[in-house]
């Protein structure tokens, strides 16, 4: 290598570095506005909420009290530790069940036995931790978590299933499918406050309300709907109480609203997903004699799993954060059976003016949503088929 070559190489290397540096700067400059917005309106409020939660912050900022607002929720850190240990064992059990002892003979069976034992142990420890927390922590907050879980489990799976079924139907060559798409999407874009008020009227406990007239057609007595704190299973004649009783009828009406409101959105997203599945796969399956159900189950469902994953993820996040329609539809008569965590935080903030306590509760809710998202990402993400 002669000196001129070295010089050219050094030169070109320097120019390359300069260009790379310029590219970096350009990239950073382009992302800077978005970054600033996220920092100011996203990260800063979270950080400031954490800061507030460490103070006796009521009408004005009070003394620094460290973890006391959190201890009001959990009772003690030990309670939380036991609860988290239960969750950790769940995760471990899940891992063992699926992945452990694969290399040895009868490893599957062994993995299932040990996995099941760990899962059971995790369940026992989780329930113990929950019980300890319920004993000494904030019962209202813990109840609100149960209500939120009922709401999420009642809403998200139904939204997903109905959305997929509707999308599949609309994907076929039916007359007026464009009109149907618009009709199904309307509830999602209509302001939730106004539609929730309409639901208020439909599900009024008045004996002449639309819902009561409808069930009257089947010979049923009028129900109290939004005003009914009793669990649905009790109303069906089953003598179950506590968690097993399920959501109250009042919460069920809110769940119905949630499904009605979001199913159209899911349908439209599923439709776009269906459009991306190559037609050749269906044709091949048809030639091979696959029935409509076979094609749906073995082609559509797996091929659309990324969309399902996305919708489930945002569905759970959305239900844990849901506020507007629940706030409008809740009644005092339904008592705390419709108070989700977001409503509880709101009440603590705006009615009791206990900002420190409210922000601590909000941070715990945030952590739960984050944890659920990560768990979903891990569990469902592995099962998603990206083609």
């Amino acid at each position: 290598m002669d000196a001129s070559n070295v010089s050219i190489n050094t030169k070109s290397s320097g120019a390359f570095k300069r260009q790379a540096f310029k590219d970096q700067i350009t990239g950073i400059l382009f992302t800077l506005p978005a970054l600033l917005i996220i920092l100011i309106f996203g990260i800063f409020p979270i950080g400031y909420s954490i800061y507030m939660s460490l103070f006796n912050w009521q009408v004005t900022k009070g003394a620094f009290i460290g973890d006391k607002n959190y201890l009001l929720i959990f009772g003690s850190w030990w309670n939380l530790l036991v609860l988290v240990a239960g969750i950790a064992l769940f995760v471990l059990g899940f891992y063992v069940w699926n992945k452990a002892f694969q290399s040895i003979k009868n490893g599957h069976r062994l993995a299932h036995i040990i996995g099941a034992l760990v899962l059971i142990l995790g369940g026992v420890i989780f329930v113990t931790g929950w019980g300890m927390m319920y004993e000494t922590g904030n019962k209202d907050f813990l109840n609100s978590l149960i209500v939120t879980v009922y709401y999420a489990l009642g809403t998200v799976p139904a939204e997903i299933i109905l959305g997929l079924v509707l999308a599949y139907i609309l994907y076929q060559d039916i007359i007026g499918k464009e009109a149907f798409r618009i009709i199904y999407f309307l509830p999602y874009i209509t302001p939730s406050i106004s539609t929730a008020v309409v639901f208020q009227i439909i599900f009024s406990s008045r004996e002449t309300s639309l819902a009561n007239r409808l069930i009257g057609l089947f010979g049923a007595d009028p129900l109290k709907w939004r005003f009914e704190p009793k669990p649905v299973l009790n109303l069906l004649g089953l003598d179950v109480s506590g968690l097993a009783g399920g959501p109250s009828l009042a919460l069920l009406t809110i769940i119905l609203y949630g499904i009605w409101s979001f199913v159209g959105y899911n349908t439209v997203i599923f439709l776009s997903g269906l459009g991306n599945i190559p037609k050749e796969i269906y044709e091949a399956a048809e030639i091979d004699g696959g029935s409509k159900w076979d094609r749906f189950w073995h082609i559509t469902v797996p091929m659309i799993s990324p969309v399902t994953f996305y919708l489930t993820l945002i569905g759970f996040i959305g239900t844990f954060k849901a506020f507007n329609h629940i706030y409008v539809m809740r009644t005092t008569s339904a008592q705390n059976t419709v108070v989700t965590t977001s409503l509880l935080v709101f009440d603590r903030f705006y009615k009791a003016n206990q900002y420190g306590v409210a922000t601590a509760q909000a941070i715990v809710l945030f952590a739960i949503i984050l944890g659920l998202t990560l768990a979903q990402n891990k569990i469902m993400g592995e099962r998603v088929f990206y083609g």
Partner: protein, 483 residues
């Protein structure tokens, strides 16, 4: 290097010593030495002619020399053509005629909740408005941060205050409502208007049932209500709900109204504790529970559902705010078959009626003496009898001054129900004005009310005992915030 550093250190130390020596001597510590021997007091010449009189030290007037601010701002929540016009006129008259040259700017700042939320972050800052509308419990919350002006400082002032006659002209309950016992009886507001809980009744239906007057006792109320549940009104709208005697809305003001009517109170103003489980409250709510148990009452099923049912002729009695009078009138006339109806005192076990009154007051956030004085002068004007009559007529609220009755003859003639309610104002009492009351209302009292009427076998005393403990815990949490 090392020696250089030492040199530098030495120079700094010497400089510090020199500077220290040049500094003024520090005064001795705060402790004041007590002289070992008292100096003999200088001889005081006694007056030759008069007996010595122990004169009270002259109280210095803190407002002497304070010049009211020229510009002040009033945050209110009033909307609607009539109210906006009335406010504009009141402001314009005040600005044109007040001798201090004060100019008030009235700003609509949203509803009560909006104003409350806007106020919290600016308490004790110069950004506060000079006059603000607020419910007593909201103002009590502001005062947790010691952010409100105590009007006691000016109300009796010889120059700026209210005369004894002016003070006594207020309905007693209205005047007392803004004196907050939890803050050592500070006066944190003055009432410009009020509403009252009354019983609405369908007179034509009562006549059909064989009665010629509304009930005055709970026993009469129950008898009539139960009869109505079994005997539909001839003028009821077809297809409407089934007949019922009474519809209860789960609202703490109903809790208060019935408890007051049974001779109780919700709060012990001497000990500053809730008394939700008083004997009167237990009796009142056992009575309400019995109405539900006997099928004579039911819950209101939707917002203002009781007005709808009353208008449809399927509801004999309901209890609600007097501010609903025009809406009840509309509901009755809506179907084209109007019936005779009116309002009366809530049936009571006491000798005289005891009526629940409520309404927001005008308050003055702490700022500067100049701004506070100007704000007070406007509040004084706004609540004066003449202006109050004008405001009450335009707003539809009740006036707060007894003397305005003479100016209301036209209103009374046009609206006999309003006159009936007006005559009850003197029996007004009020709900607790304590911080966190909204939370107690929604999270303690209303769930207890629901439990009482939802399960007619529920133990009323046990439920109210529990509610009382919870309410006092919340109150204690709130009061712990006082700066």
């Amino acid at each position: 290097m090392r020696s250089k550093l030492f040199g530098l250190l030495a120079i700094i130390m010497i400089a510090a010593l020199v500077l220290g020596a040049c500094a003024k001597p520090t005064p001795p510590a705060a402790e004041t030495p007590t002289p070992a021997v008292e100096e003999p007091a200088p001889a005081v010449e006694e007056p030759a002619t008069e007996e010595p009189v122990a004169e009270e030290p002259a109280v210095e007037d803190p407002w002497a020399g304070v010049v009211p601010a020229k510009e002040i701002v009033w945050w209110h929540q009033h909307t609607g053509e009539a109210r906006e016009a009335a406010i504009a006129k009141i402001i314009s008259d005040f600005n044109a005629n007040n001798e201090f040259g004060i100019t008030v700017t009235a700003e609509y700042a949203g509803g009560y909740g909006d104003i409350f939320n806007k106020m919290l972050p600016i308490l004790n800052t110069p950004d506060v408005p000079d006059v603000v509308v607020g419910y007593q419990n909201q103002v009590a919350t502001y005062q947790l941060a010691d952010a409100m002006f105590d009007m006691n400082e000016l109300i009796d002032h010889p120059t700026y205050g209210l005369t004894k006659e002016e003070q006594e002209d207020f309905f007693p309950g209205f005047f007392a409502q803004d004196v907050l016992s939890v803050f050592d009886n500070q006066r944190l507001g003055l009432a410009p208007n009020r509403s009252m809980e009354v019983m609405y009744y369908n007179m034509d239906w009562l006549k059909e049932l064989g009665y010629d007057a509304p009930p005055t006792t709970p026993e009469e109320f129950k008898e009539m209500a139960c009869k109505a549940a079994e005997t539909p009104f001839s003028g009821a709208t077809e297809g409407a709900a089934s007949p019922i005697g009474y519809e209860l809305s789960i609202d703490t003001s109903r809790f208060a109204s019935w408890t007051f009517a049974f001779g109780g109170d919700m709060f012990d103003y001497e000990n500053n504790q809730f008394t939700l489980n008083s004997d009167a409250a237990v009796n009142a709510w056992t009575f309400i529970q019995s109405l539900f148990a006997d099928g004579c009452a039911r819950l209101v099923t939707e917002n203002y559902g009781d007005q709808t049912d009353f208008g449809n002729g399927t509801l004999l009695f309901t209890v609600g705010s007097s501010s609903g009078l025009p809406y009840y009138a509309k509901a009755v006339e809506a179907d084209g078959t109007p019936f005779e109806w009116s309002v009366a005192a809530i049936p009571h076990t006491t000798a005289d009626p005891v009526q629940n009154i409520y309404g927001a007051s005008v308050s003055i956030p702490k700022s500067t003496p100049e701004r506070e004085l100007a704000a007070w002068l406007f509040v004084k004007y706004y609540t004066s009898a003449e202006v109050n009559a004008e405001w009450a007529k335009a707003s539809g609220y009740f006036p707060v001054k007894q003397s305005v009755a003479a100016q209301f003859t036209d209103v009374f003639e046009a609206n006999p129900a309003y006159k009936t309610a007006f005559d009850l104002l003197k029996f007004g009492v009020f709900e607790p004005a304590v911080p966190g009351y909204d939370f107690v209302r929604d999270n303690v009292i209303e769930p207890a009310m629901t439990s009482i009427v939802d399960d007619v076998t529920a133990d009323v005393r046990a439920l109210l005992d529990e509610a009382n403990v919870n309410a006092n815990e919340i109150l204690a949490e709130q009061m712990a915030q006082i700066k």
